[in-house]
């Protein structure tokens, strides 16, 4: 899966539309603003807030949508059994506690009492069974998260049992990492209303979705975590960053993430707006098609990894709002591993190409015009590679076609990002295991396969960490992916907004926020 990460630009870019893009990992909803413009008659109230996101959700069924815009809203409408806190540790949510059997093949979750859906119906174990089965039996986008799950059973109205095929240490992040595995209401699904009028158990209920203009949420007074302080939230869809910033400065909205990265610095200088910049768990990478010569030769891949200048690439794409990183996982994560093999060394790159017997290499880099920063960075990469005698042609496609070409294997090298990663199993396995669903580059190393297989079921945390360290290091050494950087999460909000946290997983939660 690739990112729906986007930034608006001063020219209207198609990056604004992440509807076709796929999100992995944890995502969330958003927003804040003075409710002065909200009309009483359409669900707003004078002390609610308005917020601006970069585009319109394609639909609001949490199990089916892959648009980040949808999750920015749904984060506040739905709950999962467990949920990540600020440090991405899993905490109780709809499940108040859980136990594992001795053989680690059975997890038992005790659910909260007295939780109701926004339509007033009771939340029970049946809803959990229905939701998880819906995802797996219909092979919906998040079905792969349940690969280890054998069966989900309602023991009694407040107890759910999950049987797994093998010990699954990351089960909690699979069933609670983000709202794509939310607990939905069966009646809402069956009536078909879930795409536009979703009914959840979350801190806010959706009251209005006017296509092209706004989505209104209203505080759920009966929320199990306590009634939210901000009574209503209107999400507006503003793709143009300059417009969103003007609206924020004018007090029409209280929060936005529709911010061109080149404006972060000037925005931060004033005291009329707070800017939050937090390193994200997203990563951007290059991958070479190992089914094509000469990229099957590890030395050629390493040469490219030595020849590129990551600092320049990060500067061009993010104007300094990114952390250069040669592995996937950012510094702040518990899974971080230090690694800096590939400092810029074009001498070494040329030597490696000589050893591999490669001369006058002509190749293509596939980027997507929906992520205009990749098109810009491609030129920097081409420039670096020309220094070591590689002639790089840039092929820019819309994201849909890009995905299509990736899955057909029609590329030499591609450039893309992954979003909202929590547990290493979420992405290392699918991208670098021989049988991985997203291993488009065709990397296959029995040693890495073994490491990833055993890390999947290793329940001792330290051991598991070691396995992933070794796997990640090997993956980078052999340049299955050439990792580039972790972009920052950039959000701007009103100084009057308090209790709101900019999170590294891009989840936008309003339940603890308030307006002074």
């Amino acid at each position: 899966m690739s990112t729906t990460h986007r930034r608006s630009r001063l020219r209207p870019t198609l990056g604004a539309i992440a509807a076709s893009a796929l999100v992995c990992g944890v995502l969330a909803s958003c927003s804040g603003g003075d409710g002065v413009d909200i009309d009483e008659s359409d669900g707003g109230s004078s002390d609610g807030i308005a917020v601006a996101i970069g585009g319109e959700p394609d639909q609001l069924d949490p199990h089916k949508t892959s648009s980040y815009f949808s999750f920015q809203v749904l984060e506040n409408v739905y709950d999962t059994l467990v949920e990540p806190d600020e440090n991405l540790e899993m905490q109780p949510a709809l499940a108040k506690s859980w136990t594992q059997s001795k053989d680690q093949l059975t997890w038992t979750f005790t659910l909260r009492d007295g939780v109701t859906f926004h339509d007033g119906s009771d939340f029970t174990a049946e809803d959990v069974v229905y939701s998880f089965n819906r995802i797996t039996r219909n092979d919906l986008p998040n079905a792969y998260r349940f690969a280890a799950v054998k069966e989900v059973t309602a023991v009694d109205p407040h107890t759910v049992r999950i049987d797994v095929k093998a010990p699954t240490p990351n089960l909690l992040s699979s069933i609670g990492g983000f709202k794509g595995v939310a607990i939905v209401d069966k009646a809402n699904v069956e009536s078909g209303d879930i795409t536009t009028k979703p009914v959840g158990t979350g801190p806010y209920a959706l009251t209005d979705f006017t296509s092209g203009d706004h989505i209104d949420l209203e505080a759920n007074e009966d929320y199990w975590g306590g009634a939210p302080k901000i009574p209503s939230i209107r999400y507006r869809f503003i793709a143009e960053g300059a417009t969103a910033i003007a609206a924020l400065k004018a007090g029409e909205i209280a929060w936005t993430d529709s911010i061109p990265p080149q404006q972060v610095e000037s925005l931060s200088e004033g005291d009329d707006v707070n800017v939050g910049v937090v390193p994200s768990n997203d990563y951007w990478y290059l991958a070479l098609n190992e089914k094509r010569k000469p990229f099957d030769d590890v030395r050629v891949r390493q040469a490219i990894a030595y020849a590129i200048d990551r600092d320049d690439i990060a500067q061009v794409t993010s104007y300094g709002n990114a952390e250069v990183n040669q592995l996937a996982i950012p510094k702040d994560s518990a899974w971080y591993t230090e690694y800096d093999t590939y400092s810029l060394d074009q001498e070494k790159a040329r030597d490696l190409l000589d050893e591999a017997g490669v001369e006058d290499l002509e190749m293509e880099l596939m980027v997507s015009s929906d992520y205009p920063e990749t098109v810009d960075a491609a030129q920097v990469i081409a420039d670096s590679l020309s220094e070591v005698g590689i002639d790089l042609k840039i092929r820019s496609l819309d994201f849909g076609t890009w995905l299509d070409e990736q899955s057909k294997g029609n590329f030499d090298m591609l450039y893309m990002g992954w979003l909202g990663n929590i547990d290493p199993d979420d992405f290392y396995y699918s991208q670098h295991h021989t049988d991985g669903a997203d291993n488009a580059q065709g990397y296959s190393n029995p040693k890495v396969d073994r490491l990833l297989d055993s890390a999947r079921t290793e329940t001792d945390e330290d051991k598991r960490q070691q396995l992933y360290d070794e796997a990640a290091t090997t993956i980078a050494d052999e340049a299955s992916y050439i990792y580039l950087y972790n972009p920052s999460v950039i959000q701007a909000y009103s100084p009057d907004l308090s209790g709101y946290t900019v999170r590294s997983d891009r989840a936008i939660r309003w339940r603890d926020a308030s307006m002074d």
Binding site: L14, A19, R236, E240
Partner: protein
């Protein structure tokens, strides 16, 4: 059937006279023929638009079904969607059924949201109509006085200033103009809302307030273009024989201008307004994105990015139909403002 009244362009007709002239004109076989020809022409072009849009969709790279499904899907899901969207049928069958359905107002179902395309388009029409109309009004409010003034002061300093300004207005990209206006009037002065739309039926005052900035953005660009046409139409009328005659007969200048110059300048200006509507519809896409305006332009832009084929086809078809309709109206208006039409 009587022959149409022999109306000299300078004749002043009362409102009643105008009405009876219209009725008689409409009954005139030549006028009827012109109208019929216009309607037929519109229908043929519209069919062409359908076929071209349909063809374009076939030519773009990428499989729409795969794109709609994302990266993880089962072969069954793929086949099911292909079948549901009729993409498994031969191309000609697809085209014919599309045309057939389109005639009954059924433009298929959006890939992205699963909603009927017709409904999605109609939902967005009021916002776009508001903006197009207001933009045109602003454009005419700029173009008519500026064009006339410029023509009357031809070759003098005022003329030069207006010509330079209109050149600048044409050259400034509309999204840039929009951002400048938002920055000035919303975040700096705080006079007007930065973006968004409120339906007229909900709150007329708020509808008007939110319409000002986008309408001025649209109007400045089209107004700059129209200024030049108005100017040259007036200059042409000033140079005509009957103006010289009227002036030499000793008719006062204001009367000459009102009766002879401006009335004759209206005809080319009406034509330009029709042509401008096309530019305007195209420009709306960018302006709607900048102002977060829930109109057809932004819907089309999002549909293109999401490869929502049925929605793109529907939007292009509707835009094409609107454009043709406007041109047909212009042709009819022509007959009204230029009564000689019935005598050709």
């Amino acid at each position: 059937m009587s022959a149409p009244e022999d109306t000299h362009p300078s004749a002043t007709a009362s409102a009643a006279g105008n009405r009876s002239r219209l009725v008689r004109m409409a009954q005139h076989p030549v006028t009827r023929f012109i109208l019929l020809r216009g309607v037929l022409h519109t229908a043929v072009v519209l069919l062409g638009v359908i076929i071209v849009t349909f063809g374009l969709m076939l030519l773009v790279p990428g499989d729409p079904v795969r794109i709609a499904l994302g990266t993880r899907y089962s072969p069954e899901a793929y086949e099911a969607l292909r079948e549901a969207s009729g993409l498994d049928q031969p191309v000609l069958t697809q085209l014919l059924s599309y045309i057939g359905n389109a005639l009954t107002g059924d433009l298929g179902v959006s890939f992205r949201s699963g909603e009927p395309v017709t409904g999605l388009l109609l939902e967005r029409l009021p916002a776009t109509a508001s903006l197009a109309f207001a933009g045109l009004v602003v454009g005419l409010l700029i173009a008519i006085p500026a064009g006339i003034w410029s023509a009357l002061r031809e070759g003098r300093i005022a003329d030069a200033i207006i010509r330079v300004t209109s050149q600048a207005g044409v050259s400034i990209p509309d999204f840039w103009m929009g951002i400048l206006l938002i920055t000035l009037f919303s975040s700096t002065l705080g006079w007007l809302p930065s973006s968004g739309y409120v339906p007229l039926s909900e709150d007329p005052l708020e509808w008007a307030r939110r319409l000002i900035l986008p309408a001025v953005t649209v109007g400045m660009v089209s107004g700059s273009i129209m200024t030049r046409y108005v100017r040259s139409a007036v200059i042409e009328a000033l140079a005509s024989g009957w103006v010289r005659t009227a002036t030499s007969k000793g008719l006062p200048r204001p009367q000459v201008l009102n009766r002879h110059v401006l009335r004759n300048a209206v005809v080319p200006v009406v034509t330009i307004v029709g042509i401008q509507m096309a530019t305007l519809l195209g420009g709306l896409v960018v302006v709607e994105v900048v102002f977060a305006w829930p109109g057809l332009g932004r819907l089309t832009y999002e549909a293109v990015a999401a490869r929502d084929y049925p929605l793109i086809q529907g939007a292009v078809l509707l835009m094409g139909a609107l454009f043709l309709l406007i041109n047909l109206l212009v042709d009819i208006l022509y007959a009204v403002v230029d009564p000689r039409i019935g005598r050709r």
